[in-house]
């Protein structure tokens, strides 16, 4: 299984790291029904660079 270097997750958890537009979290982001609308605007943000992975 591919794994990012161990320190990265801790680093991402210590501060608000972004790709220039979207905040990149160390762990998965929990999305409730009420968060969806806000999150869709994050997905469509034109300056976003990181891909977003959504398991169902």
């Amino acid at each position: 299984m591919v794994k990012a270097p161990g320190f990265l997750r801790a680093y991402l958890n210590t501060a608000r790291i972004s790709d220039g537009a979207v905040q990149v979290e160390g762990a998965a982001v929990l999305l409730t029904e009420d968060d969806v609308r806000r999150f869709v605007s994050v997905m469509t943000e034109p300056r976003r660079r990181v891909p977003i992975l959504v398991p169902s």
Binding site: M1, A4, A27, L30, T32, V40, V50, P51
Partner: protein, 252 residues
């Protein structure tokens, strides 16, 4: 199980991607509603949404690849690896900086032994764009229009002669410049000067015109008087002579 997969993904793509966990089915339904019919994710699949992303205007939904639940089930960790690889690969693609892009072709040719390393230097020099060229051209033309004053140089070999020549040249260039650039203005100024002079002497001019007018009317009176005497051949000849004389005397 789903949570485990999500955490694995988050570990794999840390910093290179953002992993979302939909809290429940209602959140998933709401999410799919926002994505539209072609871009949703359901049934245990995992979908990667690359940037830029616009669910309303996306013409190629497959650009945001889903991995089906069946594939994940069958291939297990390998399937997740593939998703992470795709994510990192999708993030890694960036446009090279300008200087790298300019030299890339030459570097390839050098590596292939079809070009000399020195050619990279030429390729690395920024090429002037069309706009820059026209600007440069404009500047050059404007500079050409401006004549530089010829300053006599102190360290000239024959200072006196050089000074004379340069002075003559300067005078010539100034004269040229004056003739070329100031012609219109000079003509206007001269016109104004003459008209003002006329205004100063207008009294005298008016008097002369009146005198001339008086002379002319006197001559006309004489001519009319003679015509009234009857058309004698001798008189007519005299009249013709007078007319010719008048024509000769009067300024045209």
């Amino acid at each position: 199980m789903a949570r485990e997969r999500t955490d694995q993904l988050a570990d794999g793509v840390a910093r290179a991607g953002l992993v979302v966990r939909l809290a429940d089915l209602r959140a998933q339904d709401r999410f799919n509603e926002a994505m539209g019919p072609e871009l949703g994710v359901f049934g245990g699949a995992i979908r990667t949404y690359f940037a830029p992303f616009d669910p309303a205007g996306e013409r190629y939904p497959r650009r945001h690849p889903p991995m089906s639940a069946a594939a994940i089930r069958n291939r297990g960790t390998a399937a997740l690896d593939r998703i992470v690889d795709g994510t990192i690969g999708g993030t890694a693609h960036r446009q090279f900086p300008d200087d790298v892009r300019r030299t890339l072709d030459v570097v390839h040719r050098v590596l292939a032994g079809r070009a000399e390393p020195g050619e990279i230097v030429d390729a690395a020099a920024p090429r002037p764009s069309k706009v820059d060229f026209t600007r440069e051209e404009m500047r050059r033309r404007m500079m050409a229009m401006t004549r530089r004053p010829v300053v006599p140089k102190a360290e000239a070999v024959t200072p006196a002669k050089a000074a004379v020549e340069t002075t003559a040249e300067t005078a010539q260039s100034v004269a040229d410049l004056v003739v070329k650039e100031l012609r219109g203005e000079l003509e206007t100024a001269l016109g104004l000067a003459t008209s003002s002079q006329i205004a100063d002497d207008s009294g005298r001019l008016l008097r002369e015109i009146r005198v001339l007018g008086a002379h002319l009317s006197g001559l006309r009176d004489i001519v009319m008087e003679r015509r009234g005497d009857g058309p004698a051949t001798g008189t007519e000849q005299n009249l013709r002579d007078e007319h010719r004389l008048l024509n000769d005397v009067l300024p045209r």
